[in-house]
Amino acid sequence: MAGLQSQDFARISATTFRPPDVRHDFEVAKLIDVSKCIGCKACQAACLEWNNLKEEVGINTGVYDNPHDLTPNTWTLMRFTEWDNPDTGNLEWLIRKDGCMHCADPGCLKACPAPGAIVQYNNGIVDFVSENCIGCGYCVKGCPFNIPRISQADNKAYKCTLCSDRVAVGQAPACAKACPTGAIVFGTKAAMIEHANGRITDLKSRGFANAGLYDPPGVGGTHVMYVLHHNDQPQLYANLPKDPVISPVVELWKGVTKYAGLAALGFAATFAFVHATIARRNEVSRAEDREAEHLIDEEAAHGRQGQ
């Protein structure tokens, strides 16, 4: 956010320096216990209300998901999946609250070309700073979870802020506050992992042998984590990626290409400079001027004969 000191940040997009990151006291995390979630959408409502967003009244398309996707105004969305568990023969209604995962290694931030448009605070929250955002949509490509959405109105990128404004004053995010079943809890990442372990033990005792914590290492872990009954198959939950990483294409683009490209251009410019300095001047000599006159006359004469 504007006005903060860069010491408050762990990372800032499109800068050539790393912030000092001296205030790195603890990391926060939101834990979404999918096994406790009843899909009531109170989190969605709280998000709209706290952030004062006005989403449009849509239509029913044959499912409970409304709106049908994340939008610049819907930063969190319940996604419903009906799954027949082949092992038990039972139907399971898997309901996942989708939204920004606040990666420790955020692909959006890595992809962002606008200095300070995406920042990661010391507590791990990844935030978009509208005044610096240029609306290029690179964050969309950087994100392994397909989260950011660009507003058609102002061409700025929007997504869950993890209520950085609330967290900054010691409050839990609005969704966690609104959750009636305690499926969304918020605290330090360490505490959330501990809490999750208790839940996983409980789920295992209820027959969910593959219950586990979704904190994918491919993006350095996340500051939004899930407890999943079927952690071996996260893709069951509305295509939650199994081993999310920042796309290698994006890594290549924002990594080697960026530096190699500049290097190539620099080399070419330097070469030209050196060449210009040391190579013989490529200049038309007086003799050549004269020979040209001669040649012109000759050829002109040829030309007349040819006509």
Partner: protein
């Protein structure tokens, strides 16, 4: 400049010098539109390409404006280059002499053009630049559409857009290299720039770098501008001597 209808003559003699018309006005216009577009695209593209270049966005009114303008300049480039392409395509077909020339490109680089065969309107390197430009601009335009988020954000999958980005970036580096070569060559080879500013080169320049072309042009006749006839009395001009 055209003294009479269907006058194909391009060699002119004036009091001071002899010149050869090399680039028509409409081609020059397109060239410069293309060139300026390319420069703007390079600057705005570089601004988004690497943080150390982001300051270039100030030239365009900030990051958002840069993001907004860059693809539109790309469209301008595409249009102007497309016209340019059609205008000069006929001079850029490859032939055996070009292959031969390429084998001696080192002599060209070191200014020893006397070792090279006589060159027509464009030498092999120039043709290469033309074709490389054509190809790279097509790639840039195509990949540019894929990543033009404002209008095509939902027309392509995110994976396609990711590929679009890297292709665009690589092609952009390529075109900037080509442009550097092109510009440097224009400066390095003295007397070249006038072909795109005034549209003509000196006879000596043509003799030195594009002698075959000079021959062809000279065969069409010479416009003598040394003895200007009084106004209103057009007359045929003939080469002196």
């Amino acid at each position: 400049m055209v003294a009479r209808d269907n006058d194909e003559r391009t060699v002119r003699r004036s009091e001071e010098r002899t010149t050869v018309d090399r680039t028509e006005g409409r081609v020059r216009v397109n060239h410069w539109v293309t060139a300026i577009s390319l420069i703007l695209l390079a600057f705005s593209g570089l601004a988004l390409f690497h943080p150390s270049m982001f300051w270039l966005s100030s030239l365009f009114g900030g990051g958002s404006m840069t993001r907004m303008l860059h693809p539109w300049i790309g469209v301008v480039l595409m249009v102007s280059f497309a016209i340019l392409f059609l205008q000069v395509l006929k001079h850029n077909f490859w032939n055996k002499r070009d292959t031969h020339w390429m084998r001696h490109v080192g002599d060209a680089m070191s200014g020893n053009e006397e070792n090279l065969p006589e060159v027509g309107r464009y030498n092999a390197a120039q043709k290469l630049i033309f074709w490389t430009m054509t190809l790279v601009i097509l790639v840039l335009f195509g990949s540019g559409i894929v990543i033009w988020y404002e209008y095509f954000g939902t027309s392509f999958t995110i994976d396609q857009q990711r590929v679009g980005h890297i292709v665009h970036a690589l092609a952009a580096v390529a075109i900037m290299l080509v442009v550097i070569v092109h510009i440097y060559a224009a400066f390095y080879v003295r007397g070249t720039i006038s072909s795109m500013t005034e549209g003509r080169v000196t006879g000596g320049w043509a003799f030195r770098h594009h002698r075959r072309w000079l021959r062809e042009e000279a065969q069409k006749g010479v416009i003598d501008e040394r003895q200007k006839p009084p106004p209103g009395r057009p007359r045929d001009l003939h080469p002196a001597e």
